[in-house]
């Protein structure tokens, strides 16, 4: 067997590993194994690559490769291990961004290493695609990271003539792409690279709040496609398949996430959602209404003597690191014979499934977690809906107010429960910036404060009741 055939075979094994990894994610039981199989595939592919003459024949370059991998591992492993579970979305964003950056660099380096103007036109197109998409993904992910890490405001950022300016940059890039194909000029390619970074940043700036996870998913798909483009450039089936797998899965996931929010992807990407909303929100309407606020003791009694309690967690619970305290409350209630379940909105938290991860971290049993559709059937027979740091995902405006920006988004019908309790820091609107009429409902009691503090007080109150 020739070395080339052996390489193809090893890379095929890695590809199978990647497909099995994605398949393993179909079930909570096999997901972890699946991820390890994927990591195994990666390890095999990388290890075998060291045996290729292209990699080991120049000693200096080989040393550089080893040093670079060591640096990456030394930075990457600790930051991935130490990050808090609530900070996962921005970690995914940044690890995605660096992948896009690597793909763009591969394309650029292949371009400048080619003997002058000897590249076929389709080669230049492949390279340009890799540079463009990889750079957009890198810059976009960096901005998304900054937003989620609260290094900058998480709200949409708009400026005058935003759409025309963005469009002008887009047109300029397209023109320069054509110029690069014709002239094969390195200078023009560098300009394309810089403008692509700018495009990635300005593309992401007007997207904020609850839309950021959809964006990260889309950028993940972008990086996959950039890697596939690098695969075409390097004639590597391995990179093409792995990149395309991610491109396809990321696209599908992005669609599922937008569907969960009841909106089209175009609307999410180009409508500067939150800024419009705060301007046109129902604040005038809400001004004259009063809210009822209760004490932890009152609410503790209400919970302790209920038959069935739904805990509806939102991002506020995650921010307050209150998932463990929420479980304590559930245990305290269960000890009194109260039936407790968690009603999980698909986009609760900042990413789909994020809330499940957080609750799993607190060892909440699976059978207490109810997906939105099941929960909505149970809520009409539920005595107390305890909304912990959630807002938009229970906002009835999504059902009742056709003009509302979240109209059409599926919500958890907390309003069906006999009593509603909101644990919230303030009356401030949620991510989407929309007022929530449920806060003013006569059935609703507010308990203001940090979610973790409030839950601790409720645990004490329930135990005392």
């Amino acid at each position: 067997m020739s070395r080339g055939t052996a390489t193809d075979l090893v890379y095929l094994i890695a590809i199978v590993g990647f497909i099995l990894a994605l398949k393993g994610l179909s079930s909570p039981k096999r997901a972890r194994l699946g991820n390890l199989v994927g990591a195994g595939g990666m390890l095999v592919a990388v290890a075998w690559t060291f045996s290729l003459p292209e990699v080991y024949s120049h000693t200096r370059n080989l040393v550089l490769i080893i040093v670079a991998i060591a640096i990456g591992a030394v930075i990457g492993v600790p930051s991935a291990r130490l990050v808090k579970m609530t900070a996962m979305p921005q970690m995914v964003a940044i690890f995605n961004g660096v992948g896009g950056g690597a793909a763009a660099l591969v394309s650029v380096t292949e371009f400048i290493s080619a003997p002058n103007k000897s590249l076929a036109i389709y080669r230049i197109i492949e390279i340009l695609f890799g540079v463009l998409v990889g750079s957009v993904s890198l810059a976009g992910s960096a901005i998304a990271f900054a937003k989620l890490q609260e290094l900058m405001t998480g709200r949409p950022i708009t400026y005058p003539a935003q759409q025309p300016i963005n469009a002008a940059i887009g047109v300029a890039i397209v023109a320069l792409l054509v110029v690069t194909v014709v002239t094969a000029s390195t200078t023009v390619l560098v300009i394309v690279l810089v403008l692509s970074l700018v495009l990635g940043a300005i593309f992401v700036l007007p997207i904020g709040g609850a839309d950021t996870p959809v964006l990260i998913s889309l950028l993940n798909a972008f990086t996959g496609l950039a890697v596939a483009a690098s695969g075409f450039t390097l004639d590597s089936t391995l990179l093409i398949v792995a990149g395309t797998l991610v491109g396809a899965s990321g696209t599908l996931l992005t669609r599922m996430m937008s569907q969960a929010m009841g909106r089209s992807l175009t609307n999410i990407l180009f409508s500067a959602f939150g800024s419009v909303v705060t301007a046109s929100g129902a604040d005038a309407d809400a001004a004259g209404r009063s809210v009822r606020s209760g004490t932890a003791d009152d609410i503790g009694v209400l919970l302790a003597y209920a038959r069935k309690v739904a805990i509806i967690p939102g991002y506020g619970l995650a921010v307050a690191q209150a998932q463990h305290t929420a479980r304590e409350l559930a245990d305290a209630l269960a000890a009194r014979g109260v039936e407790v379940y968690y009603a999980i909105h698909p986009v609760a938290g900042r990413m789909p499934g994020h809330m499940n991860v957080l609750l799993a971290e607190a060892n909440v049993p699976y059978d207490q977690l109810e997906e939105m559709d099941d929960a909505n059937q149970d809520l009409s027979t539920t005595d107390v809906a305890l909304v912990v740091g959630a807002n938009d995902t229970v906002n009835p405006a999504a059902k009742n107010t056709p003009g509302s920006p979240i109209y059409g988004m599926p919500i958890i019908n907390a309003d069906l429960a006999t009593n509603i309790v909101f644990l919230k820091r303030s009356m401030r609107p949620g991510f989407a910036g929309i007022d929530n009429e449920l806060l003013y409902d006569p059935k609703t009691t507010m308990l203001f404060g940090d979610a973790k503090d409030s839950l601790s007080k409720l645990v004490a109150a329930v135990k005392a009741a």
Binding site: S27, A31, M85, A102, A242, I344
Partner: protein, 126 residues
């Protein structure tokens, strides 16, 4: 031109088939696993590491060496960060005993989690 490149059509075929495979495999993932899926697929595109190694291995001159070196560092971050983060997430989905017989063990695990997350960024998980 394109027709003169026999390999290209094969690669395009592979690309199209892989797109279908990616779509089909992922369409069966339950929504509770969407975050790990995003993270896991994020790790998989770290395969660009193999590409960056080939590029740096062939690099000549300062410009190519610098770009290639940077590319390998970034790609390695993508790979190790992606898989470690995903593994941490999925660790929490590991099959737990569904019976309530082991509350002591569960409580112990829960306390560990609470301590390390409460300890902030200065925590010492290993």
């Amino acid at each position: 031109m394109i027709a003169a490149e026999p390999g290209l059509m094969t690669f395009i075929t592979v690309f199209v088939l892989a797109a279908f495979v990616g779509y089909e495999v992922v369409s069966k993932v339950p929504s509770i696993l969407h975050t790990p899926l995003m993270s896991g697929s994020n790790a998989i595109h770290g395969i660009i590491l193999v590409g960056t190694m080939l590029v740096l291995g062939n690099a000549h001159g300062t410009a190519q060496l610098t770009l290639g070196f940077l590319a390998v560092v970034l790609a390695t971050l993508n790979v190790v960060g992606g898989f470690v983060v995903t593994d941490r997430m999925l660790h929490m989905f590991r099959a737990k005993p569904t019976d309530r017989k082991g509350p002591a063990a569960e409580a112990g695990a829960k306390d560990d989690g609470a301590t390390s997350s409460g300890g902030g960024s200065g925590g010492t998980p290993s």
